[in-house]
C-alpha cells in the first residue's frame, strides 16, 4: 500500500481565505464562514483558488507514480478540507452544509480555475458517505465520516466477472460465522483499490432467495487477512481498476449496512444519491478546460501553417459541441436544483449520465481528429485531472470508462425507456 502523509490536525492560517474556526478535538473541522451570497462566494472561491491551486500541477502529475499521485491527492484534499470545501454536500454537523447554490458555484469555479479533481477521495466523499448517511448506523457514521475527512480512502466492490450490467447476479458469498460473516469471491473494476482503506461490498448472504433478495451490504476493512488486490491494465495503459480476491475474509457483523439480505435495496437507495452534483462538476470541467483546449487546438496552426478553425466544417462541429456542452451544463444544474427541491424524475440521473458520457466521447473524438498525427505522440496524461486532459488520444480511449461502467449506455437507455417513458419492460428473470 502506498505511503501517505499523516493528516494534519491543525488548521494553519490561510491567506486570501476566510479563517476556519479552530477545530475542536474529536469533532470535524467546522466549516469557515464562506459568504452565503453566490456572487460573493464566487469571488471568494476564485480568490482562494488563485492562492492555492498548485502551479503547474498538470506537469507534475504527468507520469507521476501511484505514490506521487496518492500523496498529491491527499494533500489537495486536506487543503480543501481545511477551508471547508472538500465535502460541501455533507450535512453541516459532519463538516459540510453548503447550500446547493453554493455547491454549484464551487464546482463551477474549481473547473474554471482548473483545480485538480478529487479523484482518490471520490468514492469516499460521495458514495461511501451517502451510504453511511442514508443507511449507516450512528456508530458507523461516527467511525467513518471523520476518518474520511482525515483521508480514509474507499473503493466500491460491486461488479464481478459474471455480474456487470446484471449486477444482481453477483456470486461473492458472505456466510454467517459466529459474530461475523465469512466472505469469499472475486470483485472486479474496483477503481483505485490499491490505495483503499475500506471497501463498499455487496455479497450474497442467501443463495436460495431470488437474486435481488439474497444480497447484503458490508463495510470491509481492506487490511483484513485474506484480501488480495491485483491491478488490471486498462485500454489506456494505466492500471486504475483492480480485481479484489476475497478468500475467507471475516467481516464483523457490526459492519453490515442495513438489514441482512436487504443490500440490493440499500445499494439502490444510495447509488444515485450523489450523481447530480458529481455530474455537474464533470460537466463544468468539460465546459471549461475541455472545450477551451479543443478551441485552442483548433486555432493552432497545423503542419502546413493552416489553422483548423479556418475550415468551415471544423467551425461547424466546434459550434455544435459547444452547444451540446452548454445544454449538458444546464441539464446538470437543473438536476441538482430539482434534486434539492425533491422533484427528480426516475430517469433523470440516467439521462445526464448517458448524455455526458457520449458527449465526452464525441468531444474527445473530435480532439483526436484535430490534433492530427501530432496528437498520437502524446503518450501520457496527467493524473488528478478530469476526463479531458489535452492528451486527446488517451482521453478518447479513456472515455469508454464513462460509457461502460456505472451502467452502460445500453442499460441507461433501457432505464430511460422504462422508468422515464413507461415503456414495457423487457422479458427478464427476477
Amino acid at each position: 500500500m502506498a505511503p501517505r502523509p499523516a493528516a494534519t490536525g491543525a488548521a494553519p492560517s490561510e491567506p486570501a481565505a476566510p479563517e476556519p474556526a479552530a477545530p475542536v478535538a474529536g469533532a470535524p473541522v467546522a466549516a469557515p464562514a464562506w459568504p452565503e451570497d453566490p456572487a460573493e462566494f464566487r469571488a471568494a472561491v476564485r480568490d482562494w483558488c488563485g492562492g492555492h491551486v498548485p502551479a503547474e500541477w498538470r506537469r507534475a502529475q504527468t507520469g507521476a507514480s501511484e505514490e506521487e499521485f496518492a500523496a498529491f491527492q491527499k494533500d489537495w484534499f486536506q487543503q480543501l478540507r481545511r477551508v471547508g470545501l472538500a465535502v460541501p454536500h455533507w450535512p453541516r454537523e459532519w463538516g459540510g452544509g453548503m447550500s446547493v447554490a453554493q455547491q454549484i458555484v464551487l464546482y463551477q469555479e474549481l473547473a474554471a480555475r482548473d483545480a485538480p479533481r478529487l479523484v482518490l477521495a471520490f468514492v469516499a466523499i460521495h458514495h461511501a458517505a451517502s451510504t453511511l448517511l442514508v443507511a449507516g448506523t450512528g456508530e458507523q457514521r461516527r467511525r467513518h465520516l471523520p476518518a474520511i475527512l482525515d483521508g480514509e480512502i474507499w473503493v466500491q466492490g460491486f461488479s464481478e466477472p459474471g455480474a456487470g450490467s446484471d449486477l444482481a447476479a453477483l456470486r461473492a458469498t458472505a456466510r454467517r460465522e459466529g459474530d461475523g460473516y465469512l466472505v469469499n469471491g472475486q470483485k472486479l473494476w474496483a477503481s483505485g483499490a490499491v490505495h483503499a482503506d475500506w471497501c463498499l461490498l455487496l455479497a450474497r448472504t442467501d443463495p436460495h432467495a431470488p437474486k435481488r433478495r439474497g444480497i447484503s451490504y458490508f463495510l470491509l476493512d481492506m487490511r483484513t487477512p485474506g484480501i488480495e488486490v491485483r491491478p488490471i491494465r486498462q485500454a489506456t495503459g494505466s492500471s486504475h481498476f483492480c480485481e479484489i480476491f476475497l478468500d475467507d475474509v471475516l467481516i464483523p457483523a457490526a459492519n453490515l449496512v442495513g438489514p441482512q439480505d436487504q443490500g440490493w435495496r440499500v445499494a439502490q437507495e444510495t447509488l444515485g444519491a450523489e450523481r447530480g452534483m458529481t455530474m455537474l462538476e464533470l460537466a463544468e470541467r468539460l465546459g471549461h478546460v475541455g472545450f477551451r483546449w479543443l478551441a485552442e487546438a483548433c486555432a493552432r496552426p497545423g503542419p502546413g501553417g493552416r489553422r483548423p478553425i479556418e475550415d468551415a466544417l471544423v467551425q461547424d462541429r466546434l459550434a455544435s459541441l459547444e452547444t451540446e456542452i452548454t445544454g449538458l451544463r444546464a441539464l446538470c444544474r437543473d438536476l441538482v436544483e430539482r434534486h434539492a427541491a425533491g422533484r427528480v424524475g426516475p430517469a433523470d440521473a440516467s439521462i445526464v449520465k448517458l448524455y455526458y458520457s457520449e458527449l465526452l466521447q464525441r468531444t474527445m473524438d473530435f480532439g483526436v481528429e484535430i490534433a492530427g498525427p501530432g496528437g498520437q505522440t502524446v503518450l501520457e496524461k496527467p493524473a488528478s485531472s478530469g476526463w479531458e486532459s489535452g492528451a486527446w488520444v488517451l482521453d478518447f480511449i479513456g472515455s469508454w470508462e464513462w460509457t461502460i461502467p456505472g451502467g452502460t449506455s445500453e442499460i441507461q437507455r433501457t432505464i430511460i425507456g422504462e422508468r422515464g417513458l413507461g415503456l414495457p419492460r423487457e422479458p427478464m428473470g427476477d
Binding site: T323, T326, G417
Partner: protein, 360 residues
C-alpha cells in the same frame, strides 16, 4: 397571481393545451379565438390593453402551438409584429398599433428578412429613398408569415441615411404586392412582399429605440427562438405519441416498446428533448430579460432544438411503421413543420457559423 411568475406560465400552458386540444388545431385556429385568448397581447403593456408580461409567456404559447401543430396567425402578429412594435420609440401611432394588436382588431405581420440571405445577416429587405415628390419605398421580403391575411404590414427598411426603420403599410397600398408562397407544411402560410416605388404619402416612418442595428438583430433572434420553442413542443408531442403507440402496438407477441431497438430510440428522443428544453429555456430567459448577449443562446437553441425536432418527427414516423407513413396518421404534418422550423430564420448551419465567429 402576479404577472410573469412560473405559476402564471403553468396556468397559461394548461389553458393553451386544453384550448388547442379542442377541434383540429392544425386545420386552423380562428383569429377571433386567438384574440379572445389574450395571447396576441401578452407582451403589450397593460395600459395598451395587453397583459404586460414578457417573451417568457409568449414562449409558452409558442411551445403549445408547436405541440398541436396549430395553424394560426400568431407568428406574424404576436411574435414578429408585436416584437417589432415593442422595439420602436414609443409614440402615438406605435401605441395605437400595439393596442390594436393586443385586441386582435388589426391583423398584421412584419417583413424582416429579404428571403435571399441566411436569415441572420440582418440584410434589410426594403429601402427608403428620398424623392422630390416625397419618400419612396422599394424592395422585397420573402417568407413573411401570414402576409396575405394581414391588413397591415410592418416593413423593415433602411432610410436614406442607412438606418433601419419600420414602415407600416396597409396591404392595399399602391405599388405593394403580396404573393402567397405556398409551402409543403400546410399549417403555415407565407407571402412574398414586394414594394415597387411605393410613395409614402402621410405614412409615418417609425424609428427604433436605442441602437437600430442591435434592435434588428434582437428581432431576428426573437424569431429564431420562437422557432425553437415551436420545435420543442412539436418534438415532445411526437415523443409522447410514439411512446403511447409503442406501449400498445404488439408484434411477435409483445408490445414493440419492449424491444430495445424501439425503446432506445425513444430514450434518445427523451434525452434530446431534455437538452432542447434547457437550451430553449436559457434563450427564452435571456430574450425576456433583453440580455444584449442573448444571440449566442438564441443560436444554440435554434440550431439544436430545430434539428432535434426533425429527428423526433422522423423517428415517430419510423416507429409508427406503415401507419406512420399514411396521411391519416398526421405525423407528416409534424415532420413537415419541423423541417420548415429548421430552415426559417437561420438554418442550424447558419447559426453555428454565427457561433463560430467567436472562435476566430
Amino acid at each position: 397571481m402576479p404577472a410573469g411568475t412560473a405559476d402564471v406560465r403553468d396556468e397559461l400552458r394548461a389553458v393553451a393545451r386544453d384550448l388547442l386540444a379542442r377541434g383540429q388545431a392544425s386545420d386552423g385556429v380562428p383569429w377571433r379565438q386567438l384574440a379572445d385568448s389574450g395571447w396576441l397581447g401578452l407582451e403589450v403593456p397593460e395600459e395598451l390593453d395587453g397583459a404586460g408580461v414578457t417573451f417568457a409567456e409568449t414562449a409558452v404559447v409558442l411551445e403549445e402551438l408547436g405541440r398541436a401543430a396549430a395553424s394560426t396567425g400568431y407568428l406574424g402578429a404576436a411574435v414578429l409584429a408585436a416584437g417589432t412594435l415593442a422595439a420602436l420609440e414609443p409614440d402615438g401611432e406605435r401605441d395605437e398599433l400595439l393596442r390594436r394588436t393586443a385586441s386582435g382588431t388589426q391583423v398584421l405581420t412584419a417583413a424582416l428578412v429579404d428571403g435571399t440571405d441566411d436569415g441572420l445577416g440582418g440584410a434589410v429587405p426594403f429601402r427608403l429613398e428620398d424623392r422630390p415628390a416625397g419618400p419612396r419605398l422599394r424592395g422585397h421580403a420573402g417568407f413573411v408569415p401570414d402576409a396575405a391575411e394581414a391588413g397591415l404590414l410592418l416593413l423593415l427598411a433602411l432610410d436614406p441615411a442607412g438606418t433601419p426603420v419600420v414602415v407600416p403599410l396597409g396591404a392595399e397600398a399602391a405599388g405593394l404586392t403580396v404573393i402567397p408562397q405556398p409551402v409543403v407544411d400546410a399549417t403555415r402560410r407565407f407571402g412574398l412582399v414586394r414594394a415597387e416605388a411605393v410613395t409614402l404619402d402621410g405614412v409615418a416612418v417609425l424609428r427604433f429605440g436605442g441602437d437600430p442595428r442591435a434592435a434588428v438583430h434582437r428581432l431576428l433572434d426573437r424569431a429564431a427562438v420562437a422557432m425553437a420553442c415551436d420545435s420543442l413542443g412539436l418534438a415532445e408531442a411526437m415523443l409522447e405519441a410514439t411512446v403511447a403507440h409503442a406501449r400498445v402496438r404488439e408484434q411477435f407477441g409483445r408490445p414493440i416498446g419492449s424491444f430495445q431497438a424501439v425503446k432506445h430510440a425513444c430514450a434518445d428522443l427523451l434525452v434530446q428533448a431534455a437538452v432542447s428544453r434547457q437550451l430553449v429555456r436559457e434563450a427564452v430567459r435571456r430574450m425576456a430579460e433583453d440580455d444584449p448577449e442573448a444571440g449566442v443562446a438564441a443560436s444554440m437553441a435554434k440550431s439544436y432544438a430545430c434539428a432535434a425536432a426533425v429527428q423526433a418527427a422522423g423517428t415517430a414516423m419510423q416507429l409508427h411503421g406503415g401507419m406512420g407513413y399514411t396521411w391519416e396518421s398526421g405525423i407528416h404534418v409534424y415532420l413537415k413543420r419541423a423541417t420548415l422550423n429548421r430552415s426559417l430564420f437561420g438554418s442550424p448551419a447558419a447559426h453555428r457559423r454565427r457561433l463560430a465567429r467567436r472562435y476566430t
